[in-house]
């Protein structure tokens, strides 16, 4: 048997998969204890982008809605935390669910009128949306958002009396949330909701004809994706202790889009891998810092040529074989 085929067979073999997962978790948990502060910080950003990527993966990967303005929801979450903490004194960690809700609520309001748009048209609207949010933040309506300088002086989060301040603290905070979200999303993938999302992605008209409430499920995806971005926004605000419009540019939305497609649409491990690549790529190219985005652009095109389905695509047939065996 050729080795590639053997490897594919092995992928359906539960003990190996469990061992791999355990190894990965062991690495994740132990990393901050032997990695340098700098790399732990990098690890935090991998987690942060994984969270953003998982949120966008619901919208783009599961439902196939071209959202190129996901940074807007991230910004809304970050600013919700920043404003409510710095201006109204609410505790940062308690604002985590609040940020998620605010981002989700905004997503619901904003996406309701545009949800029926298809393909490229939705893509353009979401780009415009991202720009509108950024411009509004810069223009400082009602003196709330602090204009181009943003909001400063956000308190550190406090968890059961423990102040979250070191890179290691943030590392664990963000990865705990990534694990939780990945688990929840995995459950959804194996439910009628997850399947319905995929039906819409594959063929919207057939999905509707088969009884899928396309509009409601698309909205649910947008709201859920935005909620995850809102959570990421809260953590980002807490980590930086300030927020400014510069952090939420179109490039960020692009990066999230690329994370999902690099990893593979609708693939949870793929999205985490994509986040790792997007964050680590510039780190590895630090010696040629000036040119790193240049290479990144080329790498994107090359990946799409060699692995159009992403680096770690979801393999349905294998999943079902697995379930049949277990």
């Amino acid at each position: 048997m050729n080795p590639l085929k053997k490897w594919r067979e092995l992928r359906t073999w539960a003990p190996l998969r469990l061992a791999f997962l355990a190894l990965f978790l062991a690495f994740l948990v132990s990393f901050p204890f032997w990695g340098s502060r700098y790399w732990v910080d990098v690890g935090f950003y991998v987690g942060l982008y994984a969270l953003l990527g998982l949120g966008l993966n619901v919208i783009l990967g599961e439902v196939g809605l071209f959202n190129l303005g996901h940074a807007a929801f991230w910004a809304i979450g970050a600013y919700a935390t920043a404003i409510l903490n710095a201006r109204f004194g609410l505790p940062t960690l308690a604002l985590l669910p609040v940020s998620a809700l605010v981002a989700a609520g905004c997503a619901w309001i904003i996406s309701s009128p545009i949800i029926h748009l298809r393909g490229d048209y939705l893509c353009i609207v979401t780009i415009a949306l991202g720009e509108i949010v950024r411009l509004v933040l810069i223009n400082n309506p009602g003196g709330l958002t602090g204009g181009p300088n943003g909001v400063v002086g956000i308190d550190r989060p406090v968890f059961l009396g423990h102040v979250i301040r070191t890179p290691m603290d943030f590392y664990f905070l963000v990865w705990a949330l990534v694990a939780l979200c990945a688990f929840g999303l995995r459950q959804l993938q194996r439910s009628r909701i997850g399947r319905a999302w995929n039906y819409i992605r594959e063929d919207e008209i057939a999905a509707e004809a088969m009884g899928v409430d396309v509009r409601a499920l698309k909205l649910l995806a947008f709201v859920l994706g935005a909620a995850l971005a809102g959570i990421a926004g809260n953590i980002f605000a807490a980590k930086m202790r300030m927020v400014s419009p510069d952090s939420f540019t179109f490039l960020e939305s692009c990066l999230m889009f690329c994370i999902v497609l690099l990893g593979g649409m609708g693939s949870i491990p793929g999205t985490i891998l994509g986040a790792a690549l997007v964050v680590l790529f510039p780190e590895i190219l630090r010696p040629v810092a000036q040119y790193r985005l240049l290479f990144f652009g080329l790498a994107l095109a090359a990946t799409m040529y060699f692995r159009p389905g992403g680096l770690w695509p979801r393999r349905r047939a294998v999943e079902f074989l697995r379930e049949a065996k277990s």
Binding site: S191, R192, R195, A196, D203, E208, V212, R316, A324
Partner: protein, 261 residues
């Protein structure tokens, strides 16, 4: 053998596309537990009638009635939930999903599990998932697609894709099934399987509205045939009557045409 009550009916439906009238004040009344065929030359508006009934298009005029209730204004997914399922002329499968998942789609409308119960895998959600899966598996077995259950839909042969689409529609447990050219593109043996299967549906309580080009299939299967041309109904009757109707022959073969038997 024929039922005596109308289950699905259109009254004067009209659908225009940029001035072109695709369906023109069209009436059809489908009797319960029968196979009713809708035939006509290419571009006569048959598929448009399907799209109006299933809510994909909104008619400019007229009503669609199902079990005496007006369907106008309902969305396609609501119409499916009422009990009308369909197939498409070219199979519109969920190509990158497994055949089993495709058939499970039919059961979607019968599921109730929501967002939180799906994330938490609550007991009732698990029971429902099992039921959805079992029903889908039954249909796969009945249509001889069992061995393809874990294949991606795009990887199976064309004939099986058509059967898979039929299985998906049947899994929705409809009362009325709208079939758009079910035998188109099939080879002889696949055609035979398909015909036999459709023939048996009224006995199981289903009503079939069939669009088909193959006259042998139509004549053999139908209880009643409606002929349309240029969006209008031009004839209606049992197969023998339609076969000899000069208006129908003219519509198909043009003026002065004679049928070569």
């Amino acid at each position: 053998m024929m039922g005596d009550s109308v289950i699905l009916e259109t009254q004067g439906i009209t659908k225009r596309f940029r001035g072109l009238v695709a369906v023109d004040r069209f009436d059809i009344a489908v009797q319960e537990r029968t196979i009713h065929s809708l035939i006509g030359p290419n571009g006569a508006g048959k598929t448009t009638v399907f799209n109006v009934i299933t809510g994909i298009y909104r008619p400019e005029e007229g009503k669609v009635l199902f079990e005496g209730q007006v369907l106008n204004g309902l969305k396609p997914h609501e119409i499916l939930a009422r009990g009308i399922a369909r197939t498409f002329q070219n199979p519109r499968l969920f190509k990158n999903m497994t055949c089993l998942e495709n058939v499970m789609a039919g059961q979607h409308a019968h599921g109730r599990a929501g967002f939180w119960s799906s994330i938490l895998r609550l007991p009732h959600q698990r029971r429902e998932e099992r039921r959805i899966r079992e029903r889908a598996e039954e249909w796969l077995k009945r249509l001889n697609l069992w061995h393809f259950r874990h294949e991606l839909a795009r990887n199976i042969p064309y004939g099986c894709q058509k059967l898979l689409e039929l299985a998906r529609a049947l899994a929705a447990q409809p009362k009325v099934l709208l079939l758009d050219e079910p035998t188109c593109g099939l080879n002889e043996s696949e055609k035979e399987t398909m015909i036999q299967f459709i023939e048996g549906l009224p006995k199981e309580g289903l009503t079939v509205l069939l669009v088909e080009h193959n006259m042998n299939v139509v004549m053999g299967l139908s209880d009643l045939i409606t002929v349309m041309n240029y969006g209008k109904k031009i004839a209606e009757g049992p197969p023998e009557a339609i076969y000899n109707d000069p208006v129908v022959i003219e519509a198909y073969l043009g003026r002065g045409g004679t049928r070569v038997a």
